[in-house]
Each structure stands twice: as structure tokens, then as C-alpha cells.
Amino acid sequence: MPKPNGAGPNGSVSNGGQVTFLEAIKQAMFEEMERDPAVILMGEDVGVYGGAFKTSEGLLERFGWERVIDTPISESAIIGAACGMSYCGLRPICEMQFIDFIVCAFNQITNFVAKGHYLWNAPAPMVIRGPSGGGVHGGPFHSANPEMYFVHTPGLKVIYPSTPYDAKGLLKAAVRDNNPVLFFEHKFLYRRIKGEVPTEDYTVPIGKAVVRREGKHLTIISYAAMMHTSLEAAEALAEEGIEAEVIDLRTLLPLDEETILNSVKKTNKCLVVHEDTRTGGIAGEIAAILFEKAFDDLDGPLVRVTSLDTPVPYAPTLEEHFLPNAKKVFSAAKELARY
């Protein structure tokens, strides 16, 4: 296997190719730091160790101590300092070692970082990223999907990609965006999926969903790891003659209403699949949008397949019961298709 780019002090740059989700993220950081010296990386164990998941491996060697900063275990200080740096024209990327710890900096993010542009015209171009999600037996404190706390916060942008192509393109777009962007990386995907990413520079627009699979009988809306679960269910549904259209949201804030509405106006039925817990998940917001803007187009109830309203349990048997899976999506979709 070729060495991922950025490895080694004189790191020969070999971008693009068939890469894992994780390598795509690393390439995005590498390329953005290469392109713009205002981009720096801060976080716990991101330097010498290369990050708990090795997402930043090689970056210290290439960009040096001033640009790849191993911080104390102080999430509020990491986010706060990044905010201060962003006020001075830098574009810091902050890694949360596990995204679960982002809530330790909840106040800094929601009160300081998010409100600055609205209140005093101070843009904060910074990215907060980290490994999220379950299905890997991380237990209640290493499996979180905290996206909705932040989707409820005006001033932030929230991204949760599902493919290497999108992860790289969206992370690059996030670094270049003038607003604070939260970038969630589903750790189940890190090394389980691979995909082609272009050699040349590209970005994926923030705020645009994508139709992953065309279909006419119903729409399945999902994102991140559940995207793949939904596609798998869609294949099984097709064998029974049900053609599901599958939408990957990619960005949760701002939400791409147009892509959602176009699809549901065509299929007249909508199923939302998310790994986040049920109450207050994005499905509720999508339901509200459909009731407001596509009420007459709906031929069935809005159906949700989500995790349970519990903390993420540790034992594999419990966690597997907690999470949605292709079978659950398949049954719910079949039920919905009958309307």
C-alpha cells in the first residue's frame, strides 16, 4: 500500500487515488495546510502521536511545532484559543479526540464562537472536527452523535459526510469557509470504506445534499454511517420491486430543503434514518419542513428509523439493539411503501 500523503519530514505529496475515509480526511488537512499557512491544527495528541486515530499523522513532521499543536486536555481552551486565532486571520482546525468531548466546550462553541458574527460582525473561520458515532463498541462516552445540539445553534455549520470523496471535499470547503464549521467523522467509516478521490484540488459545497440512488416509490433520507445502511436496505427493497430514492444530507446545517422537497414531491413518501437518538433528531425537523411545504404531496406518514432514546450502551448485544440497521430500515420502508 502506498504511504499516505504527509508522512515523513520531506513528505512527497501523493494525493488522490483510492483512499480510506480516514486518509481522505488526512489529505484534506495536508493539502489545506500546504495551500495556506494560516491553517493550523490543534488538539490532544495530534502532533507527535498523529492523533488517537492517526488522522493527523505526518502533519507535525511536515508543518512543524507552530502549526501542529499538542494541547493540554482542555477542550474549552482549544476551542477558545482557536476562536481567538480566527479573529487574527488564522484558520485553525481543532480536533476533539473523540467527538463526545465536544460538549466540554459547549459554552465556548454555542456562546462565543457561534454568536460573534451576528453580534459584533466578527467572523470566526475555524473547523472543529473529530471521530463520532457508534457501532464500534465504544460505549456511552465514545460513541456520541452530538450533531443536533449544534444544529440548534444559529451561526454554526454542521457537516456529517459519508464517503471519502465528500469527506475530503467538504473538509476543504470547511477550512475555507468564513464561519465556524463542525465536521463530524463517523469512526465506523474510517477504515471500512474506500473511495476514489481526485488528484486535483476540489471542494464539495457545504449545504448541498446529494441523491445517492434514484427511485420513485419512496425517499429515504440519511447521512454518515446510516447512509450506507440505507443504501443496503434500498438494494434489498429493489429485489422486492420497491425503488427507494436515497438522499445523503451531508450537511445538516444549513439543511438542503430543496433536494429533500424535490425528492418527496416525486415519491410522496419519506423515511428518515439516523443514528442519532430519536427525540430531537433531524427527522423531526425534516418532518416539520415536509408538513409546512409538502403537505399535499404526502401519501403516507413520515417514518423514522433511529437509535433508541437511551445512552449508547456498551455490550455488543445492547448496542446492536440500540442502533438502526438495514433490516430495520427495510421493514419500515416496506411498511411505508404500502400506503
Binding site: 513532521e61 476562536c83 481567538g84 487574527c88 458574527h117 477504515r191
Partner: protein, 421 residues
């Protein structure tokens, strides 16, 4: 008070203290006339701290005020009208009515970061400002303030500790005014001197009489220059007293009368005036001139503020996001060669060196074990069923989650995903 400054410096300090007090006196009047929208906080008796510390900064340096640091804003160049209009929620105010009090900033010109209400949050933010200034080669110092009460927050610790590990050019002024709302300092912090907190971060600290402006300025100046020279962050405890209640609504009857009387007798403006008169730096005539100058200025500033309109209602909908270059052109102002922070010059050997023991190894390559959560190597997991995810086309199909097809018997962890801790 020692005589060691230039006449100009002595007079500036006097002017700004008087201006600070006059601006706040005028706001009390506006408050009583119901012209101030929310609460009104007072720095009465603490003016020497705001003015003396901010006066130690250069124009290019950064500050972030707390709510009682009106004096620091005036020294940095904020116009009194902006302070009036902030409190009156006027459309011409720096935040155009979106926030009040000292909650405003100026990134481009004055180098002021807006505070938020959450106490202590500025400490990590100003640490970042200090680090950015150093990174860009600007040789700037960042300063902010915190109360005795605010020093009990978690971010105070996280921020100061981070600043210390980074040796950030940052000066933190701890205004110990003995009260945090209704709670006395001994219930906030079990220390006689709050400056002792610095020991926990391995940084230097000073204690200064916060009612002696010459001492405050001299101490702050030394701290600012040491921070600028790369000695790392410095904590200054300025001891004083909050003469008014927490805000206008609070009569502060919990404060013993004798305590108030003790501190009223040590009013920083009166003390300084006595010093200046004694040293013949000020006489009745210049004193009157200064008073007239301030009166004239503030009458005009107030006039302007009162005539400014309220923001139009729909303005509430605007400005949540920066829309791009048309909205803000963000650029770092480099004052050092970019080559120093870009490869090849920036590249290093990524290892820890422990004094007396040599170096460890760098990170272990792409196949190094990683934290629990993913123990499957990519080749194995995604090798043949991963397809292109190009251009927003259908995604790579990933290896099935163990849960989706297999029947998992209770108590049998799926074999492919062992947790590693």
C-alpha cells in the same frame, strides 16, 4: 505613588480616569431617565485598574474588556458615544443594537475582542489571540480582565494553563474587588492573595494596589513588556473594592457600612489628584480645563447618542453568517517570512525529547494500531466491495455492519470488531 513617568503620561492617566468616571456618571443619569435598555454596571472606585492596565498597551496590542472595563475601552480609543449607544441599544452603536454594554469589539482597527457574559471565556480566547500574534510575527500582547468571582470558573484554569504551556504573550488582570455579586471573596477562593493562583501554572504574578494608578500602570507596563519579550503569560492581582452594588438594581446592603466607608476614603481619583497637586503636576487651572474639556466632549457625545435611532425590527434577521469575501475579506497580516512556517523550513523530526533520556519514536505509520473503535484494517474490511464515491455518485458500499444481516446471539460479541482499550 512614585514619580517616574513623563508629565504627558501622568496627565493622560488623569484624563482617562476622569473621563471614565464622567462617562459612567452620565450613564447613571441616562439610566435614571430610563434611556438605558438593560442593566447598568459600575466601575466606581476601580477606574485606576482599567485605565492603568490598558495604558500599558501599545496601539497594535489586543484587549478584551469585561463589563467594568469602560476605562480600558476609552484608553484604547473607543468614543464615549459608542459606549452610550451600546447601553441605549441604538442602531449607530458598534453592535447596531444586537448587544449592549461593553459587549463589542473591533478586529481591524482598535484590536478589541468583544466579551460575552460567561465569565472567564475570554481567557482562552485571548490566549489564542496572543498565540496568533506571535505566530504571525506581530510582537503583540493580549490582555484581558477577570473578577475574583470569575477566577473560580473552569475556563479560567483551562485558559491560563494553556497560555502557560504555550508561553503565550498574554497578561491577565485579576480585579479583586472583594465581592462577586453578593458573595464575599473568601467564599469564592480560599486564598488570601488570588495572585497565588499563578503558582499552579508556573507563571509569574504581581500584586498591586488597584487604587494607586501609578503603581497599576508601572506594574502592568513591566508585565506587558515581559510577556512581549517571550517570558510567557503573567497574572496581576489588583486589589480594590466594588463601591456600588453588582448593578444598578442592587443596593448591596450585604456590604458592611464600615467597609464601604474605608474604601470611599481611598478613592483612586481623589488619591491621584492629591498626588498630582502635591507634585505640582496639576493645578486648579489645568484641573478646570480638563473638566471643561470632558464636559464639552460628553455633552456632544450624549447628544449624538440620544439622536441615534433604534434598529429597524427586520435587522434582527441579518448577519448570522458571514457570506464570504463580500462580507469579510479574511487575511492574516504576516510580519515574518512565510517560509519559516511552510515546508521545507517548517518541517521537523516529530519526536519527543526527554532531557537526560534522548528521544522517543515518531508516529508509527499508516498501519499503527489506533484507538479502540476501529480495529479492522482497510484492506480487509473494504478491499473488494468499496467502489468509487466520485463526484457525488452513489457511495462506496461499505462492509456490512455485523448487525445488519447476522443474527447476533445475546452475549456473543461479533467477531470482526473487538474492542481494544
Amino acid at each position: 505613588m512614585k514619580k517616574e513617568l513623563t508629565r504627558r503620561q501622568y496627565m493622560d492617566l488623569y484624563y482617562y480616569m476622569r473621563l471614565n468616571r464622567a462617562v459612567e456618571d452620565m450613564m447613571v443619569k441616562l439610566f435614571r431617565q430610563n434611556k438605558i435598555v438593560g442593566g447598568l454596571y459600575s466601575s466606581l472606585g476601580q477606574e485606576a485598574i482599567s485605565v492603568g492596565t490598558a495604558y500599558a498597551l501599545e496601539k497594535k496590542d489586543w484587549l478584551a474588556p469585561m463589563i467594568r472595563n469602560i476605562g480600558a475601552l476609552l484608553v484604547k480609543g473607543v468614543r464615549p458615544r459608542d459606549i452610550f449607544m451600546q447601553h441605549m441599544a441604538k442602531y449607530d452603536s458598534p453592535t447596531k443594537g444586537k448587544d449592549g454594554t461593553s459587549h463589542f469589539g473591533d478586529l481591524d482597527d482598535l484590536h478589541i475582542v468583544s466579551p460575552i457574559s460567561m465569565l472567564g471565556d475570554l481567557i482562552p480566547v485571548m490566549t489564542g489571540v496572543a498565540m496568533a500574534g506571535r505566530y504571525l510575527g506581530q510582537k503583540t500582547v493580549a490582555m484581558t480582565w477577570i473578577g475574583d468571582g470569575g477566577s473560580s470558573t473552569g475556563v479560567f484554569h483551562e485558559g491560563l494553563n494553556f497560555a502557560a504551556t504555550q508561553k503565550a504573550p498574554f497578561v491577565l488582570i485579576l480585579e479583586n474587588n472583594l465581592w462577586a455579586y453578593s458573595t464575599p471573596v473568601r467564599k469564592q477562593v480560599p486564598l488570601e492573595n488570588l495572585a497565588d493562583r499563578a503558582k499552579a501554572y508556573g507563571i509569574d504574578s504581581y500584586i498591586v494596589d488597584g487604587n494607586d494608578i501609578v503603581a497599576v500602570y508601572s506594574t502592568a507596563k513591566e508585565a506587558v513588556e515581559r510577556a512581549r519579550a517571550g517570558e510567557g503569560p503573567i497574572l496581576i492581582e489588583a486589589k480594590s473594592f466594588r463601591r456600588m452594588g453588582h448593578a444598578q438594581h442592587d443596593p448591596a446592603e450585604y456590604v458592611p457600612k464600615e467597609m464601604r466607608a474605608y474604601w470611599e476614603a481611598r478613592d483612586p481619583v481623589a488619591l491621584y489628584e492629591r498626588f498630582l497637586l502635591g507634585e505640582k503636576l496639576l493645578d486648579a487651572k489645568n484641573k478646570e480645563e480638563i473638566e471643561d474639556k470632558i464636559d464639552t466632549l460628553l455633552a456632544a457625545e450624549r447628544e449624538f447618542a440620544e439622536h441615534s435611532p433604534m434598529p429597524p425590527p427586520e435587522f434582527a434577521e441579518t448577519g448570522v453568517y458571514c457570506t464570504g469575501d463580500d462580507c469579510h475579506k479574511i487575511r492574516a497580516k504576516w510580519e515574518r517570512p512565510i517560509a519559516e512556517v511552510t515546508p521545507p523550513r517548517a518541517s521537523v523530526k516529530g519526536v519527543w525529547t526527554v532531557p537526560g533520556f534522548g528521544s522517543g519514536k515518531g508516529s508509527g505509520g499508516a498501519n499503527a494500531p489506533i484507538h479502540f473503535g476501529d480495529t479492522q484494517p482497510a484492506e480487509h474490511a473494504a478491499g473488494d466491495d468499496a467502489k468509487s464515491a466520485n463526484g457525488g455518485k452513489p457511495a462506496a458500499k461499505m462492509a456490512t455492519k455485523a448487525t445488519s444481516k447476522k443474527n447476533v446471539k445475546p452475549g456473543t460479541p461479533s467477531a470482526s470488531k473487538k474492542a481494544r482499550r
